[in-house]
């Protein structure tokens, strides 16, 4: 939801929408103006979190499409649900990664990226789509699933640290193993707030992990010891020193 700072002293609804657009520019949101049937001016502004998956955006925008004639220019303008049935492509996914990494810098919450390879030698696109359908059941609405290459799915997990992402990876691997007979390998990269890489670099990190998974015995691979959680747990040593003065008098 976008809030406008001051009570707008607008002459008309268009001015008001413009105010919202200006405010929304500070956030990673997508604005979709919805015009009147007569085309005289916008009637509403649909504000969507730009990191939502195409599927989710489709779900949100669907009621609006059904209220508008699909043949009109305005309906085409909000025709993004057309993408909902298919999985997002690599370019759209890269935008999502970029937006999510920007958010990590602000929110300080981590995010994780899984690359899920479904039997590289299998050229059957149907197998990848079947795997995608299985993965989609296991993920939440703020997770982003997309095609990475002909045999690989990419899954962006906002807010998930290493441990939670590993648990998610295990759950996905288990589901896929039960649904499809092909070999499944998963590479995981984690982005912590203290070092936020560029989107391309983050995707490359995950790709490197996937390559390692291909050549190692385990099915899920995560390395990079420098990428531990930025845990602030007070250690036993710290506590012992903190309390040392209390014990002096005993």
């Amino acid at each position: 939801m976008v809030k406008v700072n001051k009570q707008p002293r607008t002459k008309n609804f268009c001015d008001f929408l413009q105010l919202i657009e200006e405010e929304a520019a500070r956030f990673s949101v997508e604005l979709i103006p919805i015009a009147e049937e007569t085309g005289t001016g916008p009637q509403a502004l649909l504000v969507l979190d730009s990191t939502l998956s195409a599927k989710r955006k489709g779900e949100l925008a669907k009621p609006l499409v059904t209220q508008t004639s699909p043949t009109t220019e305005r309906a085409q303008h909000i025709a993004l649900p057309a993408r909902a049935d298919a999985l997002a492509g690599a370019e759209f996914f890269k935008d999502c990664v970029h937006a999510e990494l920007a958010r990590v810098k602000k929110s300080r919450l981590p995010c994780s990226l899984l690359l899920i390879r479904i039997d590289e030698n299998n050229e059957d696109r149907g197998l990848l789509n079947k795997a995608a359908a299985t993965v989609e059941i296991a993920i939440e609405c703020n997770h982003h699933l997309a095609h990475f290459d002909h045999a690989t799915l990419a899954l962006l997990l906002p807010g998930l640290n290493r441990n939670r992402a590993l648990r998610q990876a295990c759950a996905i691997h288990q589901s896929l193993s039960a649904e499809i007979t092909a070999r499944v390998k998963i590479g995981l990269a984690v982005c912590m707030a203290r070092t936020v890489p560029a989107a391309e670099e983050f995707m490359e990190m995950a790709f490197n992990e996937l390559q390692k998974a291909e050549h190692e015995a385990g099915d899920i691979f995560y390395s990079s010891p420098n990428q531990d959680d930025d845990s602030c747990q007070v250690t036993a040593e710290e506590r012992a020193q903190l309390f040392s003065f209390l014990n002096r008098g005993k």
């Binding site: 040593e237 020193q241 903190l242």
Partner: protein, 250 residues
């Protein structure tokens, strides 16, 4: 009001543990600064479980909840306690306010930024714990005061808070106030001990901001819902707060 182009000093007062004396100290510091002809804004940063209004015996009509939810100008919420001492009260028993979304936080910060130029000092009395609001108020402030008392839980929680602010937000300067001590010697022991641990494990050298002795005037003033520096200006705790106030002004 005043010219709002000047930059006030923003001081965040936290402790990690609850019941250490944050709110009592913050109210009294605000009152002390205002007696020195400074214009002070006290923000109740415990957004979902506010206490500043209770400690001051206020019957507030509007709170920061209305700023977040309705876009109400914080200037309309301000309550003047005494000449130069203003409070921005928060709501009590509203869990939603204790877990604001990123957008709501940004909106609240923007709203606060628009009014703080009217003041010489902005004091933020944060919630207990290390919740999101505690962290972003501490990150926002130019000066971070951590209150602790000579008991192991208060020390551990104060240390944990400093560790988080240092590790995740790269804050390096922390000011310690030792509250509720039997003697200056005890306060010194606590400070030296905490300093040693902070230096050994985090490389942080804290500043000694002051000490507040155990004093029955404090609990009496809480019951009377008045700042103790006003109710009993000659009490030991009052003199200690005035000393801290002078140190801040110098």
């Amino acid at each position: 009001m005043m010219d709002n182009n000047q930059k006030p000093q923003i001081i965040c007062i936290s402790s990690g543990k609850g019941g250490v004396g944050k709110t009592s100290f913050t109210i009294n510091l605000a009152a002390a600064l205002s007696t020195k002809s400074r214009k002070v804004l006290l923000i109740d940063g415990d957004l979902g479980l506010a206490n500043v209004d209770v400690m001051l015996g206020l019957n507030v009509k509007h709170t920061l909840q209305e700023t977040v939810e309705e876009g109400r100008d914080p200037l309309e919420i301000l309550v003047e306690i005494m000449p130069g001492f203003f409070v921005l009260p928060a709501s009590s028993g509203v869990p939603e306010m204790a877990s604001l979304s990123y957008e709501e936080q940004a909106f609240l910060m923007d709203s606060l930024e628009q009014i703080i130029g009217n003041f010489d000092f902005v004091l933020v009395d944060t919630a207990a714990g290390v919740g999101e609001s505690v962290l972003w108020f501490n990150n926002w402030a130019g000066k971070n005061i951590t209150i602790l008392s000579p008991d192991p839980t208060a020390m551990t929680d104060a240390y944990a808070l400093i560790k988080i602010m240092n590790t995740r937000y790269n804050k390096k300067e922390f000011h310690l106030i030792i509250n509720n001590v039997k003697s200056k010697k005890e306060a010194q022991e606590v400070f030296v001990n905490m300093s040693t641990v902070l230096e050994n494990f985090l490389g942080v050298k804290p500043c000694y901001q002051g000490v507040i002795p155990q004093d029955s005037a404090v609990s009496m003033a809480v019951r009377k819902q008045k700042p103790f520096i006003i109710a009993q200006p000659k009490a030991r705790a009052s003199l200690a707060v005035m000393e801290i106030c002078n140190k801040i002004l110098s």
